[in-house]
Each structure stands twice: as C-alpha cells, then as structure tokens.
Amino acid sequence: MTATEAPAPEKKEQPAKESFATVFVQNLWSANTVVVTILSIVLAMVIGAVLIVISDSDVLKTFGYFTSRPSDAITGSWNVISSAYGNLFKGAILDPAAVSAWMHGTGTWQGAFYSISETLTYAAPLVFTGLSVAVAFRGGLFNIGGQGQATIGCITAAVAGFASGLPIVLNLIFALLAGLIGGAIWGFVPGILKARTGAHEVIITIMLNYTALLFLTWVIGVGGVHDPKRSDAISKAVPTSGQLPSFGGSLRVNLGIVLAVLVTAAVAWLLKSSAFGFELRAVGANPAASRTAGISVAKTYTLLMVVAGGLAGLGGAAQVLGTAYTLTPAVAGNIGFNGLLVALLGRNKAWGTLFAALLYGALQAGGNRMQSYAGISLELVGVLQALIVIFVAAPALVKTIFHLRAARAARLGASMAKGW
C-alpha cells in the first residue's frame, strides 16, 4: 500500500534548464532494454578491440616508443582492429568483394550469400534452445537442461531419420517429431520431479545433461546406429529424405531457420494468447496466487518442462538434420548452453530470443572468418560473446558507464535472479 503510494525516487524529473538537444539525448539515453543491449554490444566491442591490440605482439611493440612516434602505435592499432572487425562483418553479413565478383561475373551468387548463409545456419539451432530456456523462465523455471534435451533430440531425430525408411518429406517430418518428442521426454523428467517432489530443476537438469551426453557416446557405438564402414565413433548418416533441405554446395543454410522463425511465432502466440501461456506466466509470476485461483501449479510445471524440452529437442533435430547428418560425440556442440545466453540476451521474449540467436550466429560465422583472414583467434569471439552477455546481465553497469537515466532495465537483474 504505502509502497505504491510513494513513487520511487528515481522517477524524479530532470531539471528543466537543459537545452532541447540534451533533453532529446537524455530520452534516447533512457535505459530501456534495447538501448542497454545495443550499448552492451558496443562496450563489448570496445573491450574486444583493446584485447585485439594487446594480443598482437607487433602492434604492442610500437607502444614501446609511443611517446616518440605515436603514429606507429595508432595506425598499427587501427589496422589490426579494423581488419578484425571488418572480417567479422564480412564473415557474418556480407563480403563486398564477393558481391562485386558476382556482379562482374567472376564469382558465383553462392559466394555472395555465403556469409549470411553461415550466420543463419549457426543461428537456427540456437533459436530453439534459446526459446526453450525463455519459455521455462517465463514460467518461473530455470531450464539449464537445454544441452541434454538437445542432445537427446539429436539422437532420436538422427536414429528416426536413418532407420525409418520413409519416403521424402514424411521421413523429415517423422525425424523432426522424433527430435521434439525425445527432448520433451528429457524435459518431462525434471518437470514431474519438480511438480511431485519439489526437486530443484536446476540440479536435475544439470545431471540430465551429463546423462544425455554419456548416453550419446554409448549409443553411437551400438550396432544398428554405428556406421559399420567407419572405425571411429560416428553413426550412420541421415539420408537425403530426412535432411532439412538446403541450397547445397557451400550454402549450408537450410529449412531449419525457416522452421525457427515459425516456431518463434508459435511461442510468441503461446505466451501471449493461449490459455497455457496465461497459466505459465501466472505461475511464473506468483505461484501462490495462481494456485489460489485454481491453476494447477504442478501440472503447469510439468507441461512447461515438456514444452521447453521439446523446443530444445527440436534444436537438436535442426542441428543433426540440418548440418551434421551423423551422430558424433560432439554433434550437439554447445547449442544448449548457448541457448541460455541467447535467452538472456533476448530478455526471455520470443522475438528477442530470435534476434539474439541471429547475433550469436553472426558472431560465430564472422569469428571463423576473423580467425582465418585476420589471424585473430576464435577464442576472442568467445570473449566478445561473454562480454556482451555480462553487460546485458548487469544493466546497472551499462547505465553507470553511459550515465543512462534509470528506467525499467534495472528490474531485469532482479527478475533474472529470481529463478534461483
């Protein structure tokens, strides 16, 4: 009562003596989530630039005589930074050289679209695993198990893909469904344990991540799954009938990204307009009031984890049916764990998660080129990703650095911490 009675002190208006321009900038600088996210990326790139310079021993040497000839150090730093970020951009979005080569007939159209194709390819599975985390979080659960659910999704999708013998289209649908169901089952376990016994979903899902990974390593060696023509740990390949169609050749981008957009739309609708979405948001915001209003919290938790698991499982399916085609111990990569960061970057909103996944995919694709063309190690891209997430997770820090006016962003920190 009294808390609502007294508006918070930070709502205080700024003194009115500033000019129009400053007021405009202040409004632009008000700490809404979009501004904070963009500034986080900027900050991460600035720090990344410092790291690029420090890690280049030649440029570093020029700083030894900075006072006598500063131009060496400045141009050296500029060259290495612009080369790195230039290649990051070319690798992620568009390489002007390849485009002009295509225009002049000396290159192929595939070459021109290669970069964006790579970005979308990396992004597709992350959309699914990110949505998995985001949906669970909106319902008040911390799904750390995206990795395990995606891994199981890989297994069931791949096995269904090469074992079913169904014709084209049907085989793909069957394999995708298998991935969805596999992940859903892996999500159901922590869900039902949480609902029935109160077992904390974080612990259970972490443990199930290990279980899934070890199961994958084992199942690859099992007869019928293992590729008899190979001596290493690799499964049979999913035939074309079960693969997500792509342009072929160097363009790896496939139907997975289209599916990802459709699923994002479906999840956005689920959260906003469905009865189940209402239930899960209610339970996520206040389980006690939900229960009092007759919503079954246990049922919601269980179903929520099934949905989250299914989404992550689809992510695994998109990975194995889209690019990998075979099961290897590393088939799922880090898509589950990166899904956590994608959801965080996307503020647990459906469309936000899609954009965050695209950003992640772009960093991945651009990072590859940055490594081979500019000689910057791929680890630096990892550092960039981590820095972005750190700044997004600490909006107060970004606000302080840029002197943003306090706004809703400050509440994010609290809401993210609530899951624990």
Binding site: T2, E5, A288, A289, T292
Partner: protein, 532 residues
Amino acid sequence: MGRRPRRQEIPLRLELRGITKRFGDLVANDHIDITVEPGEVHALLGENGAGKSTLMNQLYGMLQPDEGEIVVDGVPRVFRSPRDAIAAGIGMVHQHFMLVPVFTVAENIALGAERTRGGPLGVLDRRRARQEVIDVSQRYGLPVDPDEKVENLPVGAQQRVEIVKALTRDVDLLILDEPTAVLTPQETDELLAVMRGLAETGKSIVFITHKLREVKAIADRITVIRRGQTVVTTSPDTGEDELAALMVGRQVSLDVEKGPADPGRTVLTISGLIVDDDRGIRAVDGVDLEVRAGEVLGVAGVQGNGQTELVEAVMGLRPVLGGTVTIDNENLVGMSTKHILRSAVGYIPEDRSLDGVIREFTVAENLVLDMYDREPYGNGFRLNPDAIGAGARERVEQFDIRTGSADALVGTLSGGNQQKVVVAREMSRPLRLFIAAQPTRGVDVGSIEFIHNRIVRERDNGTAVLVVSSELDEVVGLADRIAVMYRGRVLAVVSPDTPREQIGLLMAGVTDAVPGAVPGAGHGVTSEEGQA
C-alpha cells in the same frame, strides 16, 4: 549535518512548512504544514494514496521536497538520506519490516551501525550490541530476546525489534508507518501502550494510519490528509464519522447497513474437520459449521487460531485430514481448487499480495485469473483478448476500481483497489457460497464501505457467505451469526448482539461467561445452538 546535542532532557520539536512534492504532473504533497510538539503522539490520517507515506519519506530523507522546509528545533534542515534524518533525531519504522530473517535480534539491531573491536576491520562486538539491546528494551519496556532469530518471532515481536532498532540510534521522533496493519488486536493494544510510554519519556511519535479507533485511542492531535493536502489538524474528540468524512471527502457510513437475514437451505456443511498447518501441527481440530443461503456467518478469533487453515481446507488448498466438507450435499474434500471455484464458490484469500493478485499482471488479466479458460474469456486453448478487455472495463466501472486503465499492472494500484480487483473477480459470477478471509485488511475506509456493501448485497441475493476476520468490528458488523474460534476449535456460535466483552473473552479462550459455549474439549457446537 551535526548531531543534535544529547536529548532526553531536550525533546525534539518538528515543523514541516509548506512541503510540496511533485511526481511529474501528480502533486503528491501540496503545501503541507504540520507541527509535532515534543512528547506528542501525532496521528497522520488519510486514505491510501493521500500522500502520507510520501510526506514521511521526505521527513526521513528518502525523498527531497520540491518546496518547503523541514524545521527541527527551529533550525531548517536538509535530509539527503535516512542517515541525515537519524543524525537529526528522526527514526522510522516501516510498514514492511527491514529485518534480516536469519539474523538474531541483536545482529539485526547492530546492522548498519556495527561496532567492532580492533579497528574497522576488527571483530564484531556482539557483546556490546547485545547489551545495547537489553538496555534499550528495559528502558522503554519493550521486551525482546536479543538472541532469538527474527524469523522465529511473531509479527508483533518483529515490530518491537524495529522500534528498538530505531531507539538504539538515539532518535527523539519516531515515525510509525501503518504499524498496526499486520497486528492482532492484542498486539495492537500492546503497541499502543508502548507508544504511550514512549511519549511519556518525551519522545514524539508520528503515527500513520487509517484506522480511526486507534487514532482516537492514542493520538494527542490528528492531522487529516486528503489528496496531498492538509485538511485539518484536530483533536481526538472529533467523532469517528466526522474523521472518516474528512478523510474520504464525503460522508461514509462506518456501520454496515443491512437488513435482517433471510436464511434458506444449508449450503456449506463442515463437520469434524481436521487440518494441519504448514509445520504439521494441528490447526483445525474438529470443527463443525453450517452456512445457509442468504446469511453471513462470521468467524471471529485472534489470528493464528486455525481460521486460515479452515478456509484453505474448504478451498482445496490444504489437505483435509479428517471430517467432511459439502456444498449442497456435494463433497468438496479432495477436489481441486479449480473444481471448487467452478462449483459456484467465490473466494477472497487473506493475503492479497501473496495469494490474491499477481502484481506483474494487468488489472484485466487479474480479473480473469480463475476464468481465463472459460467462455467468453477463452476456450481452454486460446484467450479472447477482446472479451477479457471488455469484461475488465465493465468491472472496473462496476466495482469502482481506481486505475488509469484496465491494462495497468495491478502492482501499481493502491491496496484498496487491488482488493477491489479480487472482489470484482470473485463476485462477477453466480455464486452459491462466498468465502472472504480478511476482506478489508490494509484497505482504506472508502473501499471498506464498498466491499462491505458488496458482501451484504451478495447475501441478499441468496448466497451463503462465510467471513473470516481478525477485526472484531468487521465480524460484528457483517455477520448474522458469529463463530468464535480458539485453538482450532469453534468455542461457540453467538449472535452479533452478544456484548463485545463476551466475544472478546471467547476469543481469549474463556468460555465461562457465555452460555452454550463448549469449553475447550470435544467438538464445537453446531450452528443451531448459537442461533437462539
């Protein structure tokens, strides 16, 4: 900001001159003048949202006034933070306690003013902190155990800890923000006695409240605030009706207006009900009750005598360990809460912010919290936002919910309006049984009147109504019959005309004075006995 000289002998005199505070277009405080004399209990009376807390937050340094002066002992002061206010001799006990549950009383009191041995990085001087607590609690007659963990203390004792904490900071003016909102009648009486004692030692007290009875019992002077303006500063001789009218800005009736009940068939039958509380201790121990259509059965009792568990068990929110609960002879035991709500039962839970509303949801969403999957609001699969929006606007109108729009978050509404959201939700469908637990707790006078009238109207429509309240006035005003609960049992069912003292004695477990009361043992009496 220099400290005031040692007080005790020099009591503090406070003047607020023309305090004005704006939030955007909203003028929360509009030239408020208040003088608090030394040793005075000064009540600040006003509805929720009138600007009382904003004013006190400025006095305590949490907000800075846009205009006006805070004058302490004739010297204008500027408080940039609570630290400044404390240094000037002003302390505050917040409505929501600022205590660390897992710390002991002494640790909580030392928190923020820790003393160490051996420099700033030295060892915490727990012994000294403990001694300080004992000294202060003895000096002012505020019994607290310095070694008990705060989480183990009842609410009333936690509040004493807050008061002791303020007093150890050597303050001479204590602001108490809605201190009785969370207290039982006994705890309230104890607190009023403590306030009186503090005033006698020369401390001034600013007592923020909207409960007229308490104001009249304790205040030396009363300042009424309405919509950010000082309406009047008056003496406690002013009548309750007059004070209420000053507060709300129109005549309000404090007594519930209702005609005689016309009880029909028995709707709710509870027999031999046994329920445990969260700790597994028997909370309801063989209760028999009946509620008929068209009557209000009030359950009176000091908080914590099983009323909460009784209601939760009926609503399917707590396992029933024995006995039966039926509505029109349909069994309710073992049914889901959703099933019970769908059996034409309406329910206002006692803890509004925890169980009643979802603060992060809009008014519209909260209004369909138990109806979102039914026509016209949805079909169990998808929601119908148009119907939800239209229904919400209609009920915002009908139930006089003061909100900017139906899409505003409920957390931004005042307590009274949040409660109206719950009332609107639960009363806008045909009901056989309506259960209201603490329906007006933390609700302002205007809303109380509204909610009471709604409950009476529901009764007159032929609904069986069960009202649980720890406010005896409320039970007596609303009920056609009163069941008094004590230690998990119904000691007696009496008429609301029974003298207050007798009901009070029953609430304390004394059965001698009341004919027909069943002393302690066995089952409670059946309703017929009490109705005579």
